[in-house]
């Protein structure tokens, strides 16, 4: 698909987190919806201002339930069906002795789902992203805060968005090439 605009978006740089948050709020108020913010520290309020909630906890829950089923199922199938062995006269399905491994498998699957789910939802690993083309962006991992309005935004236009972002009070507004 040929992009509609010659750039990926505009990137505004801010001196501190409060300025970024205010800018995100006013951009949202101005009707922009396709935005992203970049911060050196996690800032929950910014993500929420951008209208974002994550569904990751459900993936982790599903992973944990799956792990429990796999863990218990493995022990049940091997100890009761495939290789039954009488140990001290206990019933074949001696479930209390299966608790530990079931528990460990629950944790293992849930933890793996948390990590892999986070990476997958975030689209990582992703070696290239247009925002890396802006030289100043390397300070996003040090002490600068950035707000980007993407050219995919329905309300985006080259001149209007630029002048809107200039008015947000940041240090600079840069074009992000594709």
């Amino acid at each position: 698909m040929k992009p509609k605009f010659p750039i990926y978006g505009y990137l505004a740089e801010f001196h501190d987190g409060a300025e970024l948050l205010a800018a995100a709020k006013s951009s949202r108020a101005a009707g922009y919806t396709v935005m992203e913010a970049y911060t050196p520290v996690p800032m929950e309020e910014v993500a929420h201002t951008l209208g974002f909630r994550t569904s990751l906890p459900w993936i982790v829950l599903a992973g944990g339930v799956l792990g429990a089923c796999v863990g218990f199922g493995l022990q049940y199938w091997t100890s009761v069906i495939d290789y039954p062995m009488n140990i001290g006269g206990r019933p074949m399905n001696s479930w209390p002795s299966f608790i530990v491994v079931t528990f460990e498998m629950t944790i293992l699957f849930a933890a793996a789902s948390a990590v892999l789910g986070m990476l997958w939802l975030n689209g990582l690993p992703q070696p290239y992203h247009p925002v890396f083309n802006v030289p100043a962006f390397e300070l996003a991992s040090r002490n600068r805060f950035f707000l980007m309005i993407l050219s995919r935004d329905p309300q985006f236009d080259m001149a209007g968005t630029k002048s809107f972002m200039d008015g947000l009070g940041g240090l600079s507004v840069k074009e992000v090439p594709h």
Binding site: T39, P42, R53, R90, A111, V115, N122, Q126, P135, L139
Partner: protein, 476 residues
Amino acid sequence: MSSAKPTGAASGAPVIGPGHSLASVTDQISKIVLSRQTPTGWFIGLGVAMLGVGVLITAIGWLLWWGLGVWGINQPVGWGFAIINFVWWIGIGHAGTLISAILLLLKQEWRTSINRFAEAMTLFAVMCAGVFPLLHVGRPWLAYWLLPYPNTMGMWPQFRSPLLWDVFAVSTYATVSALFWYVGLIPDLATLRDRAKSLVWKRIYGALALGWRGAARHWERYETAYGLLAGLATPLVVSVHTVVSFDFAVSVIPGWHATIMPPYFVAGAIFSGFAMVLTLAIPIRRIFGLEDFITMKHLDNMAKVILATGMIVCYGYAMEAFFAWYSGSPYERYMIVNRMLGPYGWSYWALITCNLLVPQLLWSSAVRRNIAALFAIAIVVNVGMWLERFVIVVTSLHRDYLPSSWGMYYPTVWDWALYIGTIGLFFFLLFLFIRFLPMISIFEMRTLVPATGEEPPKKGLHIAASAGPSGEARRP
């Protein structure tokens, strides 16, 4: 570390030195890794640790060539150094998870500067621990038989055995610790990618950072994942040493068959782990000038944790003695008397001195403020916890039910070589870690300072200058 609160530094006790900003924290920690000048002490330390690794390889090679007979184990003491050292190392690892997971959930901000290297310590300690049971199985090249996989023998592992539970507990613990550690590193790897000057290191850190760019949506999912991992690691860490204690408690051996074992093992693990964190933190903060980040507040808190968990461990000792008497079982009663006054009595009293008496000094705030004393006490606790495992394993086994089956256990030079070798491996990995990865979590330290882009006034100015005021100078 939920969000960037500008009040972080100001709220109460100093968990970070005054005058720090986002930029100064980032520069000071990443400088340790990115600097081209490696302290001479690092090379000396790495060299000594490599000697230890050489000892480890030799000890393993000798064992594989001759078999388990080179160790001092025999009937009746079939669980010698291998199990003692396994439990000791696993216990040390537990403090790392406790600091990174439990203290995170309890919102203890002071954990922030010590969690990264405590997690690394966990990972390396678990690796060292894993060496012992794998070699102790006798034919290590068949150790994969421990895992449930469909095989031509038509057999499955025995899931009713605590030894198999251990396989699952320890391997899950190792995996989750590694995941937790790596996830914690991702934003810092991105920071190093953006700060590194040489293209090679930019590429290496860039690949490891997976393209992290600090997007708000990414942070949101990241924080969720990190919090959930902490929540999952918390019951896990408690379960691991509980399961390790089941190896003992489920067997019908006087001195092992006791319900006190799981809580007493978990407390002992935290006790020894914090002692190891102190043992490492005290020299590291000095050598790398990190007194602003690992403050006296941290040392004081860790000393208090050692004191508290030490008291729980001593309660365990008291209960062991009480139940041996109260059970009325002649074997249990004989076991405790033999433990205190028998041929290994010296080890019991050395253990009481190290774990009960010496840590009482930590009641005094003057001792907790004295770094040399803290370091000495931490070493004593490390020794004491090793002795505890020695006492539990050896004194219970060496007097079997029938006097005709009694015996003594003497570790051989190869037992010692393997043990010293794993200490070498531990420090070898630790030295590599502190040189090539940030030993303090940079992004979490940033959450402790006001979220503004102030440049540091003096310290780190040359770094800011070389980056250019907004970084344009460095990226084509």
